[in-house]
Subunit: 238 residues, 6 copies
Amino acid sequence: MVRAGRSLQQLRPISITRHFIKHPEGAVLVEFGDTRVICTASIEESVPPFLRGKGTGWVTAEYSMLPRATHTRSSREAAKGKQSGRTLEIQRLIGRSLRAVTDMAKLGERTIYLDCDVIQADGGTRTASITGAYVALVDAISSLLAQGKIAESPLKEAVAAVSVGIVDGQALLDLDYQEDSSAEVDMNFVMTSSGRFVEVQGTAEAEPFTLEQMDAMRNLAMTGINQLFTHQQEALSR
Amino acid sequence: MVRAGRSLQQLRPISITRHFIKHPEGAVLVEFGDTRVICTASIEESVPPFLRGKGTGWVTAEYSMLPRATHTRSSREAAKGKQSGRTLEIQRLIGRSLRAVTDMAKLGERTIYLDCDVIQADGGTRTASITGAYVALVDAISSLLAQGKIAESPLKEAVAAVSVGIVDGQALLDLDYQEDSSAEVDMNFVMTSSGRFVEVQGTAEAEPFTLEQMDAMRNLAMTGINQLFTHQQEALSR
Amino acid sequence: MVRAGRSLQQLRPISITRHFIKHPEGAVLVEFGDTRVICTASIEESVPPFLRGKGTGWVTAEYSMLPRATHTRSSREAAKGKQSGRTLEIQRLIGRSLRAVTDMAKLGERTIYLDCDVIQADGGTRTASITGAYVALVDAISSLLAQGKIAESPLKEAVAAVSVGIVDGQALLDLDYQEDSSAEVDMNFVMTSSGRFVEVQGTAEAEPFTLEQMDAMRNLAMTGINQLFTHQQEALSR
Amino acid sequence: MVRAGRSLQQLRPISITRHFIKHPEGAVLVEFGDTRVICTASIEESVPPFLRGKGTGWVTAEYSMLPRATHTRSSREAAKGKQSGRTLEIQRLIGRSLRAVTDMAKLGERTIYLDCDVIQADGGTRTASITGAYVALVDAISSLLAQGKIAESPLKEAVAAVSVGIVDGQALLDLDYQEDSSAEVDMNFVMTSSGRFVEVQGTAEAEPFTLEQMDAMRNLAMTGINQLFTHQQEALSR
Amino acid sequence: MVRAGRSLQQLRPISITRHFIKHPEGAVLVEFGDTRVICTASIEESVPPFLRGKGTGWVTAEYSMLPRATHTRSSREAAKGKQSGRTLEIQRLIGRSLRAVTDMAKLGERTIYLDCDVIQADGGTRTASITGAYVALVDAISSLLAQGKIAESPLKEAVAAVSVGIVDGQALLDLDYQEDSSAEVDMNFVMTSSGRFVEVQGTAEAEPFTLEQMDAMRNLAMTGINQLFTHQQEALSR
Amino acid sequence: MVRAGRSLQQLRPISITRHFIKHPEGAVLVEFGDTRVICTASIEESVPPFLRGKGTGWVTAEYSMLPRATHTRSSREAAKGKQSGRTLEIQRLIGRSLRAVTDMAKLGERTIYLDCDVIQADGGTRTASITGAYVALVDAISSLLAQGKIAESPLKEAVAAVSVGIVDGQALLDLDYQEDSSAEVDMNFVMTSSGRFVEVQGTAEAEPFTLEQMDAMRNLAMTGINQLFTHQQEALSR
């Protein structure tokens, strides 16, 4: 297996553009190769019922794809009247990932919504979403600090995510759509900047995988995520 | 009433970017000032049940706004499980407008979906959607012609749309969000390049309007739409 | 084009029967030819959440057709579990039209529901609904005045509506179903008794229309609506 | 307990008006006192999937109340997006009752929809619906016979229904809304003109009832239903 | 007609197992032959909105079947997104039946949910549910008494239910699925231990039934329900 | 941390009862301690549309919990009208796990539905479901073989699943509800009898986890799953 333009251990070109949309407190366009996701962070001065009066905040995510983000048009979930299991699964993952690096007591009794809307899909939309949503979250937190609404950042460390897989028996980093379609195994890793794991999800699409394969994928993911932290830092320092 | 940077009879800066997304047969980013809409055209080789076997095609539209396209976040229709009356009304309008310039027999037994997704809203999202969707539709038709699937373009003429209104008693062209919020009357005109009307919608938001006001708004709209046809042509000639 | 029993500029026989149903505060059977609509006005001593505590009222409308109001049975929206785009569009139009003549501060913190249920459809159901709902609204307001709940009528003027269209190139007033089905253009005008416009909606069903055609239709509509005001007054004086 | 204008063993004034609406094959306005229901019968030349190709027909019913058929406005089921348990229960009952007197083989592979829409409710809406729907069904069957679509009527006998109850310990026939609200027991009987039972439904609203009370109610119901058969016959002979 | 293993007047083997599940306040597995239903009673210290602040309680029921409780798999209502008319009808019946023997004032401002989940269906699931739910309700009430939350039992008497029918012209007690499928008439009786009726529901599936048949069925039901009271008492005394 | 009755590396008592329900082709009650799940396998002689005519089969799963399977009653998904994200996520996991060991070509053009209904929940419901569903699947396959519908078993190997977690810094096997509630990390492993992985899901509930912790959990899971294979074999040999 040979990849056009990059080695098996390489990420696609990564781009993180802040302030892509004018209204939200955080608004990022994140690109992993041809995968492009708009990640916005919106602050609301209230919390869900189960948290009211407890003095702690909440971070939650919603995910969607434009109908024609994909090769063939998929029908619009709002028109069908329900979100698919895949959508719910991904947005739950994004929400958990960002909550893992946020101190809810320091956030105070408010909610931050992270909306990840895929405008072009080419594999890895959930990992790009997590990576971009973190940057949008930092910007939203900065606006709270600037307004004096919170005294101290509730962010404990950075979080980023990448997909890895086994294609033709070989471990690959950051699969695009075509690679993903022919992968025997597909894993997603979500890690924090202290080198720890927040989420690990591995699925044998065709054939169960061995301990050795899992370790090879995990090593690749750790390398890739470290590079994503650098991209996030560069975007945030601009 | 004085407008920053433009006269009462002027459009906002208009921008039409083709090929904004890679997968769709037509993919346009249309901007009316700060209003930004992704309009894609997707071809499907089938028609709705009521047209099957009749040899004629169909053009239909779907419309949505990203939750944070607006000043404050609005909840996601897919999550709520139904589209609002406003959404249905707008997408029906877009569909009718584009069907008005398409010869369904020449299109053949296929459907073109026009998806208009507002990524940033600042007034006039439905008129920007119609104006941009026309360009996406031209590109989709061109791909059908290039593939030899149709021999002749089913497009009869161009279509574009603009909003007009009465603010502080004066007629204004192409209202932005703030103007729209304080307008006494809001009208939308959809016209074809032969100078004829496809849709006219006027609503008194605060106070009923007079015949003279309607005529003043109509005149403004006719001027503005002519300029939009020029923008469409320039985009298509690039 | 020749019409059976009336000229192109004539309304169908109009009938407005008050107190058609015993429970509602206002209950009108309105007939435009064979189109028959039950319009009821119901008072509730509360307002929607967005108005609570502001001291102002609300007027809203709901619209429906009995399954067999039409030539062929259409399926029941309650059974399908959602209202069609057409239904939502019409009931939003009715609500806006009646709100345009009501002073919400004078109404006080209460809601008036206008339910328009078409029991027999033969074209012009939305214009008949608006015309009849106004009379039901007057009766409901009278009951509030009679009970001393409000001191002064919140109604600023009367409102009525009519459809016009172009059939075989000629402008027609108050189209029945068959005329509507073959119309090239279909417009609905909603006006107040001071001769001003509340809503204007024009749609080219087959062919875009010219400025001259729009003006011809508008003139017809203005004449027809004036006659509807007379019918409303006669019904209210009985 | 004394009743205004009728004895405890008397029906309310019954009225059955045929051809109340022009489009349906059968269209009846049935009135049991102040309860008024429009019952239409619509023929469709197809059957539900589970009957296709079997050569037999189907009779089914749908039931609804206008929002303001009642003292206080109830919210519209189409707007809520689902039919209540009460609605489903009643329309299932109406369907079963009319199917009980129809020979499905003689009906042939077609469906008759019975739509019962209550425009004014004052108790006994389900029994009025059944009684009126039978007359609408006869008219629809007659149109099939007249068109030569069927050679012989599939109707085996007539069907009608009445409510009975216990109020203040006494058995009452044909309860109005106020009586129904204070009834200890509420029973509905559906019978055929051969004096047999199709449906029996009894519910203790406040206190369980005895065998003797059940028998007293049953006797009253049998008398009342016989009178309803006469009303149906008279309406059909006009 | 001859029955395997029992006479026409006999119940199937009845079994009532308490404490079948560990969490609920009442948890019964009830078996009528091969029909097996888990009935749980759950106490919630709140009441529905229409009862708040009135000092009285509420008893309500929900009913469901596992998809494969039946011979062929039926689709899951949660997946279809709505409960069928049959489900709603049955759970309303169960709720009414149990409320009939409960003094809501003595229960205090709390709700008892009775969940009846059929894990194996062989006819009579609604009557088994009522019979088992009563035992679960007694256990839940006992826990309230034991905790001192109420001083006195709100249960006025016992309630149980059985089905009867006409098969081949003969009256049968407690029909299993196969008998039910071929029954000409199907009746369900719900009675209290004082020998009074709470609910009576009879349906002619094929042919209307006579007064004599109704009486024969009623007699059978009264005998069968008396035996069910004994089974309930035995279970509660263990 | 000390566990009552078992070491940190021990499974809870495991019980697998076949033929628990009479209708389904496979019907298993699986118990992991106090967690009890009914797993049924139902064969349908058709496949979803995307597979029609391809000669291959499908295996899919649905998951649900009885409302009172848990400490406090949770509302019924059928009544709410939609399945939660958690439910969809779990049933997708079960389906993928069982498909991973099934040769769809050998299964032929038919679908096997695996319904996992939790009647009592005490942690690990998804892993118990997968482990039990495999046994139900084997029984369903056996019935196909016995009827000669397939010549050869499509099952490639066994599949089972277990949860592991970190509580108070220590790795634990097979967490019950209370342990799961206080776990810092929660992982689920799905493996095949050849010692390979089908699914790996790890979530940091409170604190991100290290590579060493992941390896400790993985080792525990591998040991536990091997014991589950023994339990499955024993159940199948009875």
